[in-house]
Amino acid sequence: VSAAATTPWLTFWLGRYPLASPTAAVQRVIPSSAIVPGDTADAPGQLGWLPSAEGDIPVVDGGALWSTATPEPRQQLLLLRGIPLAVAVTRVGEVMLAGTEAQRALPTWLAHRLARQGITQVLELGTLWFVIHWPGAPLSRWMAAPRLHPCPHDQGDKHG
């Protein structure tokens, strides 16, 4: 496989689940200590907010995208590129280059199910990694869910 055919993948863990994201989809990796608690009552899985120059960015537990919860500690946040959202993960692994030779085929029935969960590929890079593309189906569903609360720092401005 030529170098041009390879893609960098950022591997990370959600609890015991090994996942990977195209590195290009992630803007930064940030310690979870940067989370600012706030009004998240209307948003299942939202852990708080990430202050930024462009405004506060919601932080979602990565596990909540699959209607589950990532066990604590969630050490790091993936600040997504092009989507105003940070995803809390157990920990980030490595960045690894891989091409089509690393792709592994799932049983068809399982591939269909996982595709609905936003997972469309599995890579074998030492071990198996389930690739999630942002915004995949679960992330889109989460972002589309109604939530009326404003960012905590904007409450005074937006209420009333």
Partner: protein, 146 residues
């Protein structure tokens, strides 16, 4: 008619243990058996799918068949029985392989009509291990992958 031709046809079953209980599938529907070493959990997988293993470059989903049958869940140690299917779709995690037996129709015991049975359980046979449930592979695959 010779005695050989009069003998009733026998079915060969692969017996496996799930805790204290034994179950069986038709041996002809078994592709291979291997000890489970590493299993990768799958996010968003259906209930009782423990994860996947790499089977010669293709991923095989592993069913906790004990949990599927309503028994105490597997401990993720044991053997994988790969069900014969093209391509392979499902492996059953069993505690151990108990035996391979050839049985005739006389060994079959009717399922109780008054009790509920786990999905894919189609018969019981009386063997030295006791009453052994026989699972239909096609029904099992259908139940899990539907």
């Amino acid at each position: 008619v010779s005695a050989a031709t009069e003998r009733e046809p026998e079915q060969r079953l692969l017996l496996f243990a799930l805790g204290e209980e034994h179950y069986a599938i038709a041996l002809e529907r078994t592709q291979q058996v291997f000890p489970l070493s590493t299993i990768t959990p799958v996010p968003g997988a259906p209930a009782h799918i423990l994860g996947v293993v790499n089977l010669q470059g293709r991923l095989l989903a592993i069913l906790d068949v004990a949990g599927f049958l309503g028994l105490p869940p597997a401990t993720e140690a044991g053997f994988v029985v790969v069900l014969r299917h093209q391509p392979p779709e499902l492996g059953l995690l069993v505690q151990r392989i108990a035996d391979i037996v050839a049985i005739g129709s006389a060994a079959y015991v009717p399922l109780s009509a008054t009790q509920e049975h786990p999905p894919a359980l189609i018969a019981q046979v009386r063997l030295e291990q006791g009453l052994v449930g026989v699972l239909d592979v096609d029904l099992l695959i259908q139940e899990v992958t539907a």
